[in-house]
Amino acid sequence: MIIKALKKIWFLSLLLVFFSCSNDDSEELFNETPSTRIDQRISELQNLLLASPDGYRAIYFTKDDEYGGFTFYMKFNSDGTVEMTSDVDSETAITSSRYDVKMGTTTELVFSTRNHIHKVSDSNIPGLIGSGYEGNSNFMYIKNEGGNITFIEPRNEAVIIFEPVNAGDWANVNTSLARRSSLLPSVTSSVFQGLTIEDASGNKKVYNIDYDSLRLFINATNQAEDGTVTEISYGIAYTTDGLVASPPIEIDGTSYETFIFNETSMSYISTVGGNTATIGFLDEPPFITNDVLDIGVDFSTFLYRPSLGANPLTSLGFDAIIDQINTGVAPFGLSMFEFRVIIDLEGADGDTFLQIRLVDNTGAGLNIFYDMRPSVMDKKLFFEYIAPVGGNSIFLESQMQPLIDFLINTQGLYYTTTGNFQTFINTAGTFVNADDTSQRVYGLWL
């Protein structure tokens, strides 16, 4: 029985030998040997790189879930050198280095000695120590579409497209570099930045944006009326005309990628099928919290004392107010040490006031007082000015005017609680002048 079964197996395996031999091994999938095909692919890329006489431009987003991108201009020469410039930093002079086209994981372009492209793999950048922008020196050749060469960087799978340019385009590197300052705070710029989406019928959706100017990365958050929070993050790279976002910003089925800078509104605008997306400064916060309702309930004395340390939440516009006051009292040998705003929403006149302490260089000084009348309306805090209290307060009133104007403006103040003050247990908060949103002060509640 067993022998019979074995015979059967033996016979079947012989049949297998016949059939396996009859396999059609004459069919050639490739006409060339592997080494020839590798060589062909290498020369294909090598020739492509040399094909554009004035070189290529590429926007390299090293890792677009953490960083934005930079623009590189590159001209490849047949002697294995490449000339390059970039808008990574202010050193935009064209420098020369070596490149290789070789077989690695696939056909690869390697920038083999140092040039601009290696600035994004420099791990010694202040604020990004140990990682830098996490860039690479190797790029895998994927395809060529009408002279545009696509590469993939293997570590972060970043896609980079080399586009042919003219000699004149190289100077644009300074234009895109200069754009970097456009979203940075200035003395007159609003402290609110946003991403505004507007459809054809004028419906608006505003995202508050948090822009990291070192990483060139934006976190956008929208809080809907029902309290739902949506968040979108993307890197940006400045271009000659504006900026590009990567990954593209996807909102309600529309994808916004290329933004054009608008000089009038000083903002970046992308128009897709009747919808527009705008990145820029806002005249009002996208969303006003109810934090103002805690004033007089949870805390009532707000303190601003510059010697406690600077904070980016105090805007350059507000710093200008303090500078103005210090200039005003300098002839008396004084400077502002601190100011307090004591708020009593239920109290009588005299219970709410601004108290400013001015000191000389020995630390001795005087306190001056200005009575005000507080109220809360439309989620904003308003002060009505009453009068200075005491001789010194009257005498120095005009010097204190910039700060008084900040508080008693007709549009009121936006208030936001911002956690603990530095390393203290005190609650911290910010006030923004609703009439001039470049003015914001960060301080603590006593």
């Binding site: 080494s35 140092r114 290696h118 420099d122 140990g130």
Partner: protein, 282 residues
């Protein structure tokens, strides 16, 4: 049935054999074996390192030569030759002069890899160089090397002297009694010690207090990155008499090792390296 199977077996075997016989001879190589284009720097390296010493210098980027988890970049081409000239002056020339023409040829790492950027560790410290298995030395910060600063230049080239001491030890072992001089304070947590603290325990640097082989290499590297006067000053600054004695004993072991194994007077070597280093800085 049996016969049929036999018959089929024979036919099948023949088919298998015949199908194997293609009868073609081996043709020329399909692989591109052309010499790649050489730059002036490549030719200089061939003439000064590869040709005379069989040491390859990898200055072009090759991601397989470095840790993929670090963010590094290749050196600027112009910085490579000046660095290599220092390698010649502070390492190859002194050893060749005292050990003979074939000294470095016979005992040397086979490859130097040069990296332009900083190699940051998790702890925030920076690694200047690493050596692997006595055959490969990687030098970082090539682009940051300032050849006008004596302290920094010496610290940088201490790496080479240190690693080369290991390579020498792998070829000719040192006297095992070296490890019995003061083994009690060796620790894997050496990085919690400062150099000054380690010296009070009888080790020339903090790293020397990690284990005896590193101790030996650090002794050699420290001696070869200072003048005799400077080295003596370091030892004289130590407060503990025991510690001073330990280091002096180990110094004797090192000197003995170089004389017995290689016929080199370490103090002559020390002076040569020191003089060549000073010449570069000035």
């Amino acid at each position: 049935m049996k016969d049929i199977i036999k018959y089929i077996t024979i036919v099948a075997s023949l088919l298998v054999m015949i199908s194997c016989d293609k009868g073609e001879s081996v043709g020329p190589s399909q692989i591109n074996t052309e010499t790649p284009a050489l730059s002036e720097l490549d030719i200089w390296i061939r003439n000064n390192f590869i040709g005379p010493y069989n040491i390859d210098i990898q200055y072009k980027w090759n991601e397989n030569e470095v840790d993929l988890n670090r963010f590094l970049y290749p050196p600027t081409e112009e910085n490579v030759q000046p660095l290599l000239e220092v390698v010649q002056a502070v390492w190859i020339e002194p050893y060749t002069q005292l050990g003979g023409e074939n000294f470095i040829r016979n005992i040397a790492p086979r490859q130097f890899t040069l990296v332009g950027g900083f190699n940051f560790n998790q702890t925030g410290t920076i690694t200047l160089g690493i050596a692997e298995a006595g055959t490969k030395i990687t030098l970082f910060n090539v682009d940051q090397l300032d050849l006008s600063d004596l302290t920094l230049t010496r610290r940088y080239f201490q790496t080479i002297q240190h690693e080369y001491a290991h390579i020498l030890n792998q070829t000719r072992p040192y006297n095992p009694d070296y490890g019995n001089v003061n083994p009690e304070d060796y620790t894997a947590q050496w990085f919690n010690r400062s150099d000054a603290e380690a010296r009070e325990l009888g080790y020339i640097t903090a790293y020397a207090s990690s284990e005896e082989q590193e101790d030996f290499a650090e002794m050699v590297a420290t001696m070869l990155t200072t003048s005799k006067t400077e080295f003596d000053a370091i030892v004289d600054l130590i407060a503990s008499d025991d510690a001073k004695a330990f280091i002096r004993t180990k110094e004797q072991f090192v000197a003995q090792y170089f004389t017995d194994e290689f016929g080199i007077d370490i103090y002559e070597l020390q002076e040569l390296v020191n003089q060549n280093t000073l010449d570069i800085i000035n």
